[in-house]
């Protein structure tokens, strides 16, 4: 995708100061390109460090390839950058260890996260990977809110939590998949036992 066609996320022209704002270009793993303001990037500790380390000038940004974010798709990255642009300039919360943690979901964030669970899951992964503290807070709050008023059975369905038996079965299946010979040996052993043999060897 050309730079001209890249979706620019919430650029507020009126708010552009006399000094020219710097925009960076990022590319998702499905080759969608985004232009994001320097201030918005500061919400992500990972991206902020990355662009600082790269030391790009405005010309570099235009002339060099977009910075690839290889494990996040375009749909998710669009949400991430929309969130960063909306919250640019805001202080990044510091976890003071206080629990229960009180997090309010602002209206904008609530609308942004009015998405299916699959996409919300990806958004959380992205917020974690890109180290966007407040986005992680609000998205996790949304997940925590899903527990409200639920019975244990409902919680199991909401959070897709397997039972002990299912966990055991999955563990056995994983072991067998890792070592198919183990299963064969076990079957052979059982067969010999049935035939009345005392020794396996």
């Amino acid at each position: 995708m050309s730079v001209e066609n890249a979706p620019v996320v919430d650029v507020d022209e009126a708010a552009i100061p006399v000094e020219k704002k710097m925009y960076y270009r990022f590319e998702s793993n499905d080759k969608k390109e985004f232009r994001v303001s320097e201030l918005a990037i500061q919400q992500s500790e990972t991206l902020n460090r990355l662009v600082e380390a790269m030391g790009y000038t405005s010309e570099d940004v235009e002339n060099k390839p977009a910075i690839a974010i290889e494990n996040i798709d375009g749909k998710t990255l669009k949400l991430v950058f929309q969130w960063c642009e909306h919250h640019k300039g805001e202080a990044i919360p510091v976890d003071d260890g206080s629990v229960p943690k009180i997090v309010e979901i602002p209206e904008f964030d609530a609308k942004l996260m009015d998405i299916d669970n699959g996409l919300l899951f990806k958004l959380i992964w992205a917020a974690d990977y890109l180290n966007i503290v407040q986005l992680l807070n609000v998205s996790c709050k949304k997940v925590a809110n899903m527990a409200q008023g639920k019975t244990p059975a409902q919680l199991r369905r909401v959070y897709l939590l397997p039972s002990d038996e299912e966990d055991e079965a999955a563990k056995r299946a994983a072991q067998e998949a890792q070592d198919p010979r183990a299963r064969e040996v076990e079957e052979e052993f059982e067969e010999r036992k049935r035939q009345g043999g005392n020794s396996f060897f």
Partner: protein
């Protein structure tokens, strides 16, 4: 939403933002979900209060509360408790089938959903034990449990017993069977603190009862003889007693036990408040134990806060206890210094 597949930090965030009641229910789903919650370590939970109350012979409700704001994690009510039964949903906690509902409550200007679990009387003890064990496993061994029994019931056949309870408060507007109290102390850890207010005790506790090992004991008892027993057998650190009068002899015996250095080695403080006639002969007590008046300098020596002590006595090893004695009360506070150190300290200051 696959909670277990979220990155660890996100999983932790989700669990940190959940209410205790939600974590509690979540922990019943599997060993893995229990481990997941345990790994978050809700450090703010240092104490879980178990509040019980009753109307008749049995306990009617249990409230398990936690955190600095004593937020209720779960309340247990009997099935017969009046509420809209259509809102109740059947659940299994451990192997007990019961029902639950959430009720909207307000605490510190915040609304939250309070979890109510309804039990059948026959399963009351089993269910309360399941809840207790689950919370213990969930929030770790570092959590102290406190039991608070408030009621005006006719009497108890047994007191709710949770082994890890280290602090208990009992306010029973009734005569309590001594054996019930004895059994309670046999089945819990040695108590760090006990506050007990009862009309009286029917029968006697054994002199070796673990009741007397309670480290800090606050006791208000209408019965005169129980005050005597407590003074005779107490082995803890702090004793505050509100009792009837005519206990001069027992006070003397208590001071003698302490003075001899043979008993009450960890003892720190005694405060007795007497009703009706009070002490019969203060002068006799003063004379018998060699009370000495404190000078103003000695009064403040070693004190972190203002004190009203007017005299002191000395243990056989030289350690001082500052005293305040009146017809209706006696306060004795053991100090960490000897008489010699106090006198020298006073001299230096002068």
């Amino acid at each position: 939403m696959k909670l277990l597949k979220l990155p660890y930090l996100a999983q932790k965030e989700v669990l940190k933002q959940m209410e205790y009641a939600e974590l509690f229910l979540l922990s019943f789903l599997s060993k893995r979900s229990m481990r997941m919650i345990q790994s978050v370590k809700r450090k703010e939970i240092k104490n879980i209060d178990i509040l019980t109350s009753s109307c008749f012979i049995n306990i009617d409700s249990y409230k398990f509360c936690a955190g600095s704001d004593k937020k209720v994690i779960v309340t247990l009510y009997p099935e017969a408790f009046e509420s809209d039964e259509t809102l109740r949903k059947e659940i299994s906690l451990g192997n007990v089938v019961c029902s639950m509902e959430y009720k909207r409550r307000k605490k510190s200007n915040r609304y939250f959903q309070s979890l109510i679990v309804y039990y059948f009387y026959s399963e009351m003890e089993t269910l309360s034990m399941i809840v207790y064990n689950q919370l213990k496993a969930l929030f770790g061994n570092g959590v102290t449990f406190s039991l608070n029994i408030q009621d005006s019931a006719l009497g108890y056949n047994s007191l709710p017993t949770f082994f890890n309870t280290k602090r208990s408060e009992m306010s029973l507007g009734t005569l309590l069977n001594a054996q019930v109290l004895e059994n309670y102390f046999m089945n819990v850890q040695e108590q760090e603190y006990l506050s007990i207010a009862i009309n009286g005790l029917s029968g006697y506790l054994s002199p070796n009862s673990k009741f007397y090992n309670t480290q800090e004991l606050d006791i208000k008892c209408g019965e005169w003889y129980w005050g005597i027993d407590v003074l005779s057998h107490f082995k803890g650190r702090i004793l505050r007693l509100i009792t009837a009068s005519d206990i001069d002899n027992e006070i003397c015996q208590f001071i003698a036990r302490w003075k001899s250095c043979q008993e009450l080695k960890n003892f720190e403080c005694l405060a007795i408040f007497m009703e009706s006639r009070g002490l019969r002969n203060i002068e006799e007590i003063r004379r018998k134990f060699g009370f000495k008046d404190l000078t103003p300098e000695q009064q403040v020596f070693g004190q972190k806060k203002r004190s009203n002590h007017s005299s002191y006595i000395v243990r056989d090893d030289g350690i001082v206890a500052k005293m305040l004695i009146d017809r209706f009360f006696i306060v004795m506070e053991v100090q960490s210094f000897t008489e010699e150190q106090m006198l020298k300290g006073t001299e230096v200051r002068v």
